[in-house]
């Protein structure tokens, strides 16, 4: 029925099967939309957040999707600025994932603020000292850049591309894409960093506070670095996932191998910096404020030292070592393990920088603040996932997301 819209020379499942899939995921999406409307109409009392846990599940999701969406800016940077031409075979998909992640992040922020109709105050009454102001500006601008980067892909749809204006527009946009990639890399550098700064500047919270390099705490640089390092792992994970679902190879080995290798070295260097940061924090910064490392990882039912091990060793050192070695990258099982551990590693980092920061008692006579999200929070956190699945499914079906698909599956 929709065969005229499907790119030439590739096979897709039947319209009925596709509609059924979209229907099922769409039902999950509607569940999330319902929860979102409850939060907007009835207020954030629909959540289990409280005055101790003002940042909770979906703020973690927000930071996590932004870090994972970092694959877009970093792949674009490598492709257009550094000149790694091989990455042209995955750049469309990286941009698509980035677009999904950033639009999801904006959606989550729109749900999260207590007064959504006043969201524009952040631009109008901007406080230049606040890291969140920097986040808001860079996030919005970078989303605009991603939309511009995604647009030519939409215009390359078989039917749209027949319109001469759209055809030429897409072609010319591709020609100048390096400018947008550079702009995107610049913006993303700052907003990934300022997200790190959001936690790092909290000098009243010894768990997250880090001293500054000029006006930035060094979590600023760690966040940017980790997004560039782990973002490609997420792009590769979703590539492998969609390959498994479709039963096709969609991106050439050479491209995957190159991106994985760069990601591995980035993770390795990042994790060395992270270990140095953790050591300095545990031995100098925290004791200066009257805390030992174990104060942050004991006397509560959830936050144990296992989190630090999971983040640094299992989600950092192991994937780095696998991805930097040729043997590790060539072994399919190890490769999959490494990219999944990478995704877990960066997600855990964002988790502790959002939730554990809130949970750790700072006043000596206070206790750990434990928290479990309400179904409304869970539904609205799953909402962007369903939205992403639908957008990937539609894009894969109707747009030339993977330029090597025909060649690899002939």
């Amino acid at each position: 029925m929709d065969s005229a819209l499907i790119p030439e020379g590739v096979k897709r499942c039947s319209t009925g099967k596709f509609a059924l899939f979209i229907g099922i995921v769409g039902a999950v999406l509607l569940w999330g939309v319902y929860a979102m409307l409850l939060c907007w109409l009835k207020g954030l009392n629909q959540t289990n957040m409280n005055d101790y846990y003002g940042f909770a599940l979906w703020i973690w999701a927000d930071l996590a999707v932004i870090a994972l969406g970092g694959g877009a800016f970093f792949t674009g940077f490598l492709r257009y600025i550094v000149g790694k031409d091989e990455l042209k075979n995955i750049i469309n998909y990286a941009v698509l994932i980035g677009f999904i992640c950033y639009s999801s992040a904006l959606l989550i922020l729109a749900i999260d603020i207590g007064q959504p109709l006043r969201g524009w105050f952040i631009f109008w009454h901007a406080n230049v000292h606040s890291m969140l102001t920097e986040v808001a500006f860079c996030l919005s601008c970078y989303f605009a850049v991603l939309s511009i980067e995604y647009l030519p892909l939409i215009l390359e749809n078989r039917q749209l591309n027949k319109v001469p204006f759209f055809h030429h527009l897409a072609h010319n946009m591709h020609e100048v894409m390096a400018v947008f990639a550079a702009t995107g890399a610049f913006l993303s550098f700052f907003h990934q960093g300022s997200l790190g700064g959001v936690a790092g500047v909290l000098f009243g919270r010894p768990f997250s506070f880090r001293e500054g390099v000029f006006v930035w705490p060094w979590t600023f640089f760690l966040f940017t670095w980790s997004a560039a390092a782990y973002g490609p792992c997420f792009t590769l994970s979703l590539t492998k996932l969609i390959e498994a679902i479709t039963g096709k190879q969609l991106v050439g080995e050479k491209c995957v191998n190159l991106l994985a290798k760069i990601s591995g070295w980035m993770i390795l260097t990042y994790i060395i910096a992270k270990i140095a940061d953790t050591w300095y924090w545990a031995s100098v910064l925290a004791p200066a404020q009257g805390f030992t490392l174990m104060d942050f990882y004991s006397n509560n039912p959830v936050y144990g030292i296992w989190i630090l091990v999971l983040e640094i060793v299992i989600g950092g050192i192991i994937p780095a070592l696998i991805l930097i070695t040729e043997r590790g990258r060539k072994n399919p099982m190890l490769f999959i393990l490494a990219i999944i551990l990478g995704v877990i590693g960066v997600s855990i980092n964002r988790w502790v920088m959002v939730l554990q920061v809130m949970a750790v008692p700072v006043m000596p006579f206070d206790t750990w603040a434990m928290y479990f999200p309400s179904w409304q929070e869970i539904a609205t956190t799953i909402l962007p996932v369903a939205y992403g699945v639908i957008l990937i499914a539609i894009s894969y079906r109707y747009l030339p997301v993977f330029p090597q698909e025909r060649e690899l599956n002939d």
């Binding site: 207020g43 954030l44 009392n45 957040m49 409280n50 005055d51 101790y52 846990y53 003002g54 940042f55 999260d112 603020i113 207590g114 007064q115 959504p116 006043r118 969201g119 105050f121 952040i122 109008w124 009454h125 901007a126 406080n127 000292h129 606040s130 890291m131 969140l132 102001t133 808001a136 959001v198 500047v201 909290l202 000098f203 009243g204 919270r205 010894p206 004791p287 200066a288 404020q289 009257g290 805390f291 030992t292 104060d295 920061v357 809130m358 700072v362 006043m363 000596p364 006579f365 206070d366 603040a369």
Partner: protein, 262 residues
């Protein structure tokens, strides 16, 4: 010369709370709620989502009888001066909805500008900021008893203790009407200070040598909450009990109680 310098300093309102006098009666909490139109719920048992600008903590020394001892610690907003003039909350607010007044030293909250991101709450180590999770609802008829000088806050924004700033404005208006440029000690008092039956709370200008708090803050038994964080609060506590003073901050096991600096 020194006195002249001190007199030229800008006002810096603050409190000294004598914890050895506080009986934990909660009058300060009630007075604060009534004065400032603080909304409440039918069920206030969950202290993590109820609004108490002034909250009284109960501290114990964890000793057994006969050495067991308790202390009540009233905790309003600490009105931090912070590092480099930035309170923890002021520097993070993206919409400049909270501000540090150079004129009075009071950290204010502009309700009509707050959009509820709650970053200030994340920044405050004292949990002194409160989000309006619900619309404010008062029992029928009580809405007529609200303080007309204080605006009720809507759902979805953050609020906190303002040192009853409306009382400062009112006192200043009165002084101007009477042809004076400034107010004397006692003309501006917070509701909690006025309500405390034990006289545990003293309020005034910390920079003004004519005010009691100026001397009290220098007392050897005076300390501030979480002083090591560098938040530089304007609430001073006093106790002649060492364990109480020690409970005001975090200490490593090997550390002796931090030496007070005066």
């Amino acid at each position: 010369m020194k006195k002249a310098q001190e007199q030229n300093k800008p006002k810096k309102y603050g409190m000294v709370i004598d914890l050895d006098k506080c009986t934990g009666c909660g009058a300060c909490m009630v007075a604060c709620m009534a004065e400032n139109n603080v909304p409440f719920k039918k069920d206030e048992s969950n202290k993590k989502d109820s609004i108490t600008w002034m909250r009284v903590y109960k501290l114990t020394n964890d000793e057994k009888y006969p050495d067991a001892d308790i202390c009540y610690l009233p905790r309003p907003c600490q009105h931090c001066e912070g590092q480099h003039g930035h309170s923890p909350c002021v520097s993070v607010c993206p919409a400049t909805a909270t501000d540090y007044s150079e004129e009075t030293g009071i950290v204010s909250q502009i309700y009509t500008r707050c959009f509820g991101c709650r970053y200030c709450m994340a920044a405050c180590p004292y949990h002194a900021r409160y989000f309006n999770w619900w619309d404010p609802v008062w029992p029928e008829g009580m809405e007529k008893m609200l303080n007309p000088d204080v605006s009720p806050r809507m759902r979805g924004i953050v609020e906190k203790c303002s040192f009853c700033f409306h009382r400062y404005q009112s006192a200043m208006d009165k002084a101007h009407y009477e042809g004076r440029r400034d107010i004397e000690e006692g003309e501006y008092q917070t509701a909690c200070t006025q309500a405390c039956p034990a006289g545990a709370i003293t309020f005034g200008d910390l920079n003004n040598p004519a005010h009691k708090v100026h001397e009290l803050k220098k007392h050897p038994d005076a300390f501030r909450l979480l002083e090591r964080l560098g938040t530089n609060p304007k609430i001073y506590y006093m106790s002649n009990r060492e364990w109480v003073r020690k409970a005001g901050d975090n200490h490593l096991m090997a550390e002796k109680p931090a030496k007070k600096q005066h």
